[in-house]
Amino acid sequence: MRTDADIAVSEENARPSDLFGRVLHQVALALAIFGGLVLLVIVGINSLSIAGRFLFSSPLVGDFELVELGCAVAVSSFLPLCHLRSGNVIVDFVTARLPSSFKDALDALSALIFGMIAGFFTWRMCYGAQDMYRYREETMLLQVPLWIPFLPVVFSFLVLSICCFYTFFIDVTRVARRV
C-alpha cells in the first residue's frame, strides 16, 4: 500500500530520457504550479473576506463562488502531476513480492485504462462545456459564465489522458526490453 504521496514528491521520479516525456513532465508541473497559485489566491480571497467581515463588516460578495470555481480549476490541474509522480493510491500488498516486470505490465494495463477513462471524460466534458455556453449557465451572485473556468478543467483532463498513455507506452517498452 502506498499513500505516501507527501513523501514521494520529494523523491524525484526517474527523469524521462525522451524529449516528449521531458516536455510532458514540464507541462504537468507547470499546470500544477498554476493550480497551486490559484489555491494561494483562494487563501487570499478568504482571508480578505474574513478581515472585511470583522473589521468593516462588509464581506466580499460572492467569495463562496470564487472559492468553488478556483478549487475546481486547482484540483483538476493537479491530476496529471499526481499520475506522473505515481501519487495515486494503489494496493501494493498482494504484488509486492512479484518480479518488477510483472508489476510494470500491470501498471501498463492500469495506465491504459486510466488513459481511456480520462479521454472519455475529456470527450464528454467538451459537450458539457458546450451545454454551459449554450444555456448561459452562470454563478448566482457574480454571474461568472461557467464555461470559462470549465475550459481549464477540460484541458487538465486532456493532459491527464496524454500522461496516462505516455506512462503506458513507457511501461510497455520497459517490459518488452526485459522479455
Partner: protein, 439 residues
C-alpha cells in the same frame, strides 16, 4: 441479473482490480460506471460524465481539503515542529522516557495544524528521531512512539478523513470536529501513559534528562506561541461559527504560510515544493472521491444498503454487537487498505444499517459517535502489520532499527488505542458532551 446480486458481485471484482495494482479511485470509477450502465444503460453515464467531475471538484464543502493540505505542508516547513518538540522536551524530559513523551506531545501539537497522519509522522520524525537516538532511547521505543504519535495528526482536528465522513453521511463538519477534540486529547494522554508503562517495564529503553528551569520553559514557549495562536483562532473560529471550515482552513494556511515565509531557509523552491506536495496529495484524494461518487451511486442503485439495513433490523441482533462487529472488521480491513478508500467504500453500506438501529440516542448523535469510533479504528491500521504506513516511514527514517523492533515498540500504543476505543464505545457521552455545551 438481479440488482442486489450485481451489488454483491461488485465488491470482489473491485478487490481483484485493486490486487492488480489499479489505483483505488480508478477501480471504483470503472466498477461503479460499468455497474450503473448494466442497470440503467449507458445513456445516463454519458450525460453524468459531462459535468460530474466539475460538480465534485467545485463542491464548497470539499474545498476545505486542499486548503488544509496546503496548511499542513506550510507547517512542515515553518520550523514549528522543532519548536514544539523543544518545548515539550523541556517540560517532560526529566521523566523516565520523557523525551519520547515529548515527541508524542509535539505530534499532538502538530496534529492540531495538520490533518494528515503521514505528514505528521514524517515531519515530527525528522525532528525528534535523531534527538531520541542521540539520548540513547531504544530503537523500538523511539520509532514506536513516533509512528503512533503520527496518528494523532488525524485524530486531533482538523482531519481530512473526518471531513469526508461528514460529507458522506451528511453530518455537520463543525460538530464532527468538536466531537473529535476530547477523544483526540485522550489519545495523546493515553500514548504518554503507554510510554510511562513501557519504561517501567524496560527501564533501559529511555532515560531521564536533567530537569530544566521554568525560565527556560517559558523562553521555549515563545517559540510555539504562533502554533497556539493559529490553532486557537482557526478551530475556535470554526467552532463558534465565525467562519466556515473552508475559511478556517484558508486562515490556517495563510498563518502557517506567513510563519514559513519568515523562516531563514524559505525560498522560491521551498514554495514550489509545498505546492507540489499539496498538488499530488489533493489530486490523489479527489481521484478517490471521484471514483467513490460513481461507485456509491451504483451501490445505491442496487439497493444493497437498504436490503442489508432491513436484514439487520429484522434480525434480533443487539445494536452494540453490530457496531462492535463493524469495528472489528475495520481493524482487519485497515491492516490491508488505505483508510480513505476504506471509509468511502464501506460507510455508504454500513451507515444506513447503523442509523436504523436504536441506541437510545438521536440519529445525529449516533452518526457522530460512530464516526469518531470509525476514525480511530481506521487509523489503527496505520501502525499494524503488514502495511502500517507510519511504521514504515519512521522505520525507514531511523535506518538502523529492524522493522520488527518498531512493530514491537508500537504494541503499547496499540493497547492504548484498544482501551480508548472500548471506553468511547461504552461511554458515548465522552464524545458527545462537548456538543451539548456548544449547542
Amino acid at each position: 441479473m438481479e440488482r442486489t446480486t450485481l451489488g454483491i458481485i461488485a465488491f470482489p471484482v473491485l478487490f481483484i482490480l485493486l490486487a492488480f495494482r489499479v489505483p483505488i479511485g480508478l477501480a471504483m470509477l470503472v466498477v461503479g460506471g460499468t455497474g450503473t450502465a448494466m442497470i440503467a444503460g449507458w445513456l445516463p453515464i454519458l450525460s453524468q460524465v459531462k459535468t460530474s467531475a466539475w460538480h465534485l471538484f467545485s463542491n464548497y464543502s470539499l474545498s476545505v481539503i486542499p486548503l488544509f493540505l496546503l496548511m499542513g505542508n506550510f507547517a512542515s516547513r515553518s520550523g514549528m515542529s522543532e519548536a514544539l518538540f523543544k518545548f515539550a522536551s523541556a517540560c517532560l524530559g526529566h521523566r523516565q522516557g520523557g523525551v519520547a513523551m515529548a515527541a508524542v506531545g509535539a505530534c499532538a501539537g502538530f496534529g492540531a495544524i495538520c490533518g494528515s497522519s503521514l505528514a505528521t509522522a514524517a515531519t515530527m520524525g525528522k525532528v525528534a528521531l535523531p534527538e531520541l537516538r542521540r539520548l540513547g532511547y531504544s530503537g523500538s521505543l523511539s520509532t514506536g512512539s513516533l509512528a503512533a504519535g503520527g496518528t494523532l495528526g488525524i485524530l486531533i482536528p482538523p482531519s481530512v478523513i473526518l471531513i469526508i465522513y461528514a460529507i458522506l453521511t451528511e453530518q455537520n463538519i463543525v460538530k464532527m470536529f468538536l466531537a473529535a477534540l476530547v477523544p483526540g486529547i485522550i489519545a495523546a494522554f493515553g500514548y504518554i501513559l503507554a510510554i510511562a508503562v513501557f519504561v517501567r517495564l524496560v527501564p533501559a529503553s529511555g532515560r531521564a534528562t536533567p530537569r530544566r528551569p521554568w525560565r527556560e520553559r517559558l523562553r521555549l514557549f515563545r517559540g510555539i506561541w504562533h502554533v497556539v495562536a493559529i490553532f486557537t483562532f482557526m478551530i475556535g473560529g470554526i467552532y463558534l461559527g465565525w467562519f466556515t471550515p473552508t475559511e478556517g482552513a484558508a486562515v490556517g494556511a495563510a498563518g502557517t504560510g506567513l510563519v514559513a515565509a519568515f523562516q531563514k531557509n524559505f525560498s522560491l523552491s521551498a514554495l514550489l515544493d509545498v505546492i507540489q506536495s499539496t498538488a499530488v496529495t489533493s489530486a490523489m484524494i479527489f481521484l478517490v472521491l471521484l471514483g467513490a461518487e460513481f461507485f456509491n451511486s451504483f451501490i445505491a442503485l442496487t439497493r444493497l444498503p437498504n436490503e442489508l439495513a432491513n436484514f439487520v433490523a429484522g434480525g434480533e441482533f443487539s445494536p452494540l454487537a453490530i457496531v462492535a462487529c463493524i469495528l472489528v472488521l475495520y481493524v482487519f480491513l485497515g491492516c490491508l487498505m488505505d483508510s480513505l478508500a476504506m471509509i468511502l467504500l464501506t460507510i455508504p453500506v454500513f451507515f444506513p444499517v447503523i442509523i436504523a438501529l436504536d441506541f437510545g440516542m438521536s440519529q445525529e448523535e449516533v452518526a457522530i459517535w460512530f464516526g469518531i469510533l470509525t476514525l480511530i479504528v481506521v487509523e489503527v491500521g496505520l501502525i499494524t502489520p503488514p502495511v502500517g504506513l507510519n511504521v514504515f516511514i519512521i522505520n525507514k527514517m531511523a535506518g538502523d532499527v529492524p522493522v520488527y523492533e518498531t512493530f514491537k515498540g508500537v504494541l503499547p500504543f496499540l493497547a492504548s488505542d484498544l482501551i480508548r476505543v472500548a471506553l468511547l464505545f461504552m461511554f458515548p457521552w465522552i464524545t458527545l458532551f462537548l456538543l451539548d455545551v456548544f449547542y
